[in-house]
């Protein structure tokens, strides 16, 4: 008995040693900054000297700040690309799941934008959206459509960013769907066919429910990622776009914190954003729980 416990204690000691790095990293680079950030949000922190407690003032100002609302609106607006991307990716995955020749090549081609650096992609699309010589307008000109100066126009800058985001993320979502589709047992479709179900019915009653966990995963991760959109905006519209119409929340936080040194105020905004993401994610989990089913 005694030797067992000694063995166990040795094992435990090694185990703690092996997980020490991530645990210490978690404390230093996540816990301490998180607490620091929460405290900072209640102060007039400017990074130089003063860090006096000012209560809820920052939060009150955040909710009075029209630029905050504007950047929040822009961020949510740009998430419209998520459902578009999901539908397109599912269609592509269904097409690729037929096992036609060239499947692997298509998979690689569709995936290239995903692995490409977002900075390089943003530079490329900024040039593609050029009003006079850009690829997009030259393509539209084939159909006799005169395209706008996409990034200089308040009504087109967000759709332009959405199109680019869908293009960049499509391959990733498609790949997740493809993996999910391949794990659906063939016998399900065969059984449905015997029961007289047509292609649409078996898609609606078998495919969609079977890929639902992946859809859920995609929606959750896309919303978390979409809420933090920054690089595209920083590269393509360095000033936040015409009349600030493409500035995202993170872009605004970044400007306030590292441009104006309003660290307390920026921390308060970051916390509001964090809370927003947390609540949205929680709601999604609740909805998912309600609608989920178990397979025998």
């Amino acid at each position: 008995m005694k030797t067992t416990s000694k063995l166990y204690r040795t094992e435990q000691r090694y185990a703690y040693l092996f997980i020490a790095a991530p645990v210490i990293g978690f404390l230093i680079f996540a816990m301490v900054p998180l607490i620091y950030s929460i405290y900072g949000a209640f102060t007039n922190w400017d990074g130089l000297g003063s860090m006096d407690f000012i209560g809820l003032e920052n939060f009150i100002n955040v909710f009075k700040d029209e630029y905050f609302y504007k950047s929040m609106f822009n961020t949510i607006y740009m998430m419209l690309g998520i459902p578009i991307g999901i539908v397109l990716a599912l269609l592509l995955a269904l097409a690729l799941n037929r096992g036609i020749p060239g499947t692997n090549t298509f998979r690689v081609l569709y995936y290239i934008p995903v692995i490409s650096s977002i900075a390089a992609i943003s530079i490329l699309w900024q040039w593609a959206y050029n009003g006079d010589y850009g690829l997009v307008n030259q393509f539209l000109a084939i159909f006799g459509v005169e395209g706008p100066n996409w990034l200089q126009n308040t009504s087109t800058v967000k759709p332009a960013l959405i199109i680019m985001a869908v293009w960049k993320g499509l391959g990733y979502t498609m790949l997740l769907y493809l993996a999910a589709l391949q794990s659906v047992p063939k016998s399900f479709y065969e059984a449905a066919k015997l029961d007289g179900a047509n292609a649409f019915k078996s898609f609606w009653h078998i495919t969609l429910p079977m890929v639902k966990p992946v859809t859920f995963f995609i929606i959750v991760t896309n919303i978390i990622g979409g809420a933090q959109i920054f690089t595209e905006i920083n590269v393509m519209t360095p000033t936040g776009g015409p009349e600030y119409s493409s500035a995202s929340v993170v872009f605004y936080i970044w400007q306030k914190a590292f441009g104006n040194f309003q660290l307390g105020y920026a921390s308060a905004m970051a916390l509001v954003l964090g809370l927003f993401i947390f609540i949205i994610t929680l709601i999604q989990f609740k909805i998912n729980e309600k609608n989920s089913f178990e397979l025998d």
């Binding site: 790095a21 680079f29 934008p113 530079i123 490329l124 293009w167 990733y172 992946v214 920054f230």
Partner: protein, 295 residues
């Protein structure tokens, strides 16, 4: 009797027509996928095409995809027009050091979390995993102040050091992967007198190597393509990573509309990961597909 015959007939006749129908659908799908693929690749081809154009061809209407005079001059010019070379070496320093050391600490932790017994195992793991729910914008301001108080701003250290402590996604993934390895192997090794560290590097690590490699590549790509971290910390041009360098190319040469130069620099920033992807596409695609299904 008659019914059975009729059934037999229809069963015989059906595969023929269905096969034909399937073949037509396949052809339509193939065309649809090809058009899609053109849309996916065209912007990248255009980027390359712009980079080998002369200035007149850039502004030609209608556009030319293959310019009359193909010029690779911009690919030699870019090295002197900005700190591109130091950008590449800075990106390499960050990505290599983080992935090598971070992979070691992550896989060691994954081994402990899946195969060793200790108090609070699941609680500690859940605590670590909860950190992925904290969005980076919440942490970036205090992290910046912390690093600036030790004088690390405008060095690569804030981008490197946190990575040394491991990556929770990698730990999560490898822990999942390790569940497929029987515990009896470890028990046997213990009886043979292996130390815990020996069990890790002699038995566990070789077994999980393929999974580790795929995760390492994905992490490497993520660091190589990172933009927000570098833009916060790196100010002086010679300290910047490649992504910042090309963004600055874009900002400074777009005014002179030197698009071939900008596009050449962007191609250089993009090419390494493209090559890595093409070489390791099978492992990368598999590993992403698995992480999605498991996640």
């Amino acid at each position: 009797m008659e019914v059975a015959v009729a059934n037999k007939k229809s069963v015989k006749a059906e595969p023929m027509s269905e096969k034909k129908k399937n073949r037509i659908t396949d052809a339509v799908v193939f065309i649809f996928l090809s058009f899609g693929a053109i849309f996916m690749v065209a912007p990248l081809l255009w980027m390359f095409s712009t980079s080998i154009k002369t200035r007149e061809d850039v502004f030609a209407l209608p556009p030319v995809w293959i310019p009359d005079t193909i010029s690779f001059a911009k690919y030699s010019e870019i090295w002197s027009m900005g700190p591109l070379l130091s950008g590449i070496s800075n990106s390499l320093i960050v990505a290599v050091s983080v992935t090598v050391i971070g992979t070691f600490t992550s896989s060691l932790a994954a081994f402990a979390f899946s195969k060793l017994h200790f108090n609070g195992k699941n609680k500690i793991f859940m605590m670590l995993f909860a950190s992925v729910m904290i969005p980076y914008p919440v942490l970036m301001i205090p992290q910046f102040i912390m690093f600036s108080s030790v004088g690390w701003v405008d060095t690569l250290l804030p981008l490197i050091i946190p990575g040394f402590f491991g990556n929770i996604f990698m730990i999560f993934f490898l822990r999942q992967f390790l569940t497929s390895i029987p515990n009896s192997i470890i028990e046997a090794a213990k009886i043979d007198g292996c130390s815990y560290f020996q069990i890790f590097y002699k038995i566990i690590f070789p077994l999980i190597k393929p999974a580790v490699a795929a995760q390492l590549i994905l992490w490497f790509m993520g660091i190589w393509n990172d933009y927000l971290g570098p833009i916060l910390y790196l100010n002086s041009p010679e300290k910047q990573t490649l992504q910042l360098v090309i963004a600055n190319f874009n900002a400074s040469y777009a005014i002179q509309s030197d698009y071939p130069l900008i596009m050449a620099a962007s191609v250089v920033a993009l090419l390494p990961m493209l090559i890595v992807f093409i070489v390791f596409q099978k492992q990368i695609i598999e590993s992403i597909a698995i992480s999605g299904v498991k996640g």
